[in-house]
Point group: C2
Chain length 196, copies 2
DNA sequence: ATTTCAAGCGGACTGAGGTCCGTTTCTATT
DNA sequence: AATAGAAACGGACCTCAGTCCGCTTGAAAT
């Protein structure tokens, strides 16, 4: 019988009860975040809200940070889709510079909106994981199209660093700047890099 | 009698036992960090090592992050001194561009060396506190001297962001880049900004 | 339908950060 | 030297992330 036949290295597929619990946990977590904020999501409370044991929560998500990363992942997927195949200027079709500036703006907004969640996700996602890797790649790609010469890997990393949730949040909430101004400054920076 | 006389708003001076305990705690903490790393510094262990109660630790430093911030503060003071009145090119006397590049290099090294400590200090210091404020101010000042036009506050923040401990650490430990390369890339960025 | 057993489950338990409050100690004043 | 009261102290106590292990269950094979 043509069973899914476990391909080399593929995890052997999730059991149905496991899948059900994972969904229940994610749903409950989203509800709790929406209702009472990120801090209200304790692992015990989440387990109870989802009607499972605490051990199950950790089995599914490893840690609190892992859970938060899973929540952030939804937005991340959408955003990557928008960049890869959404409408211009964020998506393909617009001139590279327009796309780069749109990416910066869009990322600032995303990072500001979900700053708390991303903070709670910690290293699991904020730094060093697939998300950052994707942005760096894309930025590098656009810089290349714009004819920028130099160490594009390091340059791209440097250009996205100011978009980090903590940096944006600091500027908005402590220094009282608005996103327009921050984006203008960043656009200025990008402009100088491209025309340097 | 010429008592210190409490100047308006000055905190009323620390009691002698409090000062003694603060020193004992900081010493013990430094020893523990050196001996077994940042993670080994638990509040209970620290209290016992310093021979005080746990409540005292929290009275002095508010939180674990606050304690770590106090430890980082030592290095921070030294660094700020070096920038303000140390030998060139980091200190005054060298051309602004030399100073700026030296600042970047020096800060990268500092942030990489104490990445764990700074991470543990969290928002207390990594973002939004006096330390960042000082660097931003200084960067802005140098950019001004270099004749850079534009929103210097935002521009300075953007230029400093890639020096953040997490960013440097990520590049060195996960991407395998060395500090020379990272600094070259950053210098390139700065050069483009100044000559843009 | 029955068997088998890996995967999943739950909740008691541990360890660490942070709080509280009754007790002790410093210091200013008389 | 005695006194008063504010500041500091200490450690029991609370919450919450994370672990462990004996029990249960889903699904593949007979």
């Amino acid at each position: 019988m043509p069973v899914p036949l476990p391909l080399l290295g593929e995890p052997p597929r999730e059991r149905s009860d496991a899948a059900r619990n994972r969904e229940a946990l994610l749903c409950a977590a989203r509800r709790m975040v929406e209702a009472d904020g990120v801090d209200a999501v304790t692992m015990d409370a989440l387990a109870e809200a989802a009607g499972v044991g605490k051990g199950t929560v950790f089995r599914r998500f490893e840690s609190r940070a892992g859970l938060m990363a899973a929540l952030v992942n939804d937005f991340e997927i959408d955003w990557q889709q928008a960049v890869l195949s959404g409408p211009p200027p964020l998506g393909p079709g617009a001139p590279p510079m327009d796309r780069l500036l749109a990416m910066g703006r869009s990322r600032m907004e995303l990072n500001l909106t979900h700053a708390q969640l991303m903070e709670a996700a910690g290293w699991q996602l904020t730094q060093g994981s697939a998300a950052d890797s994707f942005i760096a790649m894309h930025t590098r790609h656009l810089l290349g199209q714009l004819g920028v010469r130099g160490d594009l890997q390091v340059l791209a990393t440097a250009l996205i660093a100011p978009l980090a949730p903590a940096v944006i949040q600091q500027q908005v909430e402590a220094e009282g700047l608005d996103l327009d101004r921050i984006h203008s400054g960043w656009a200025d920076l990008v402009g100088r890099v491209v025309n340097g």
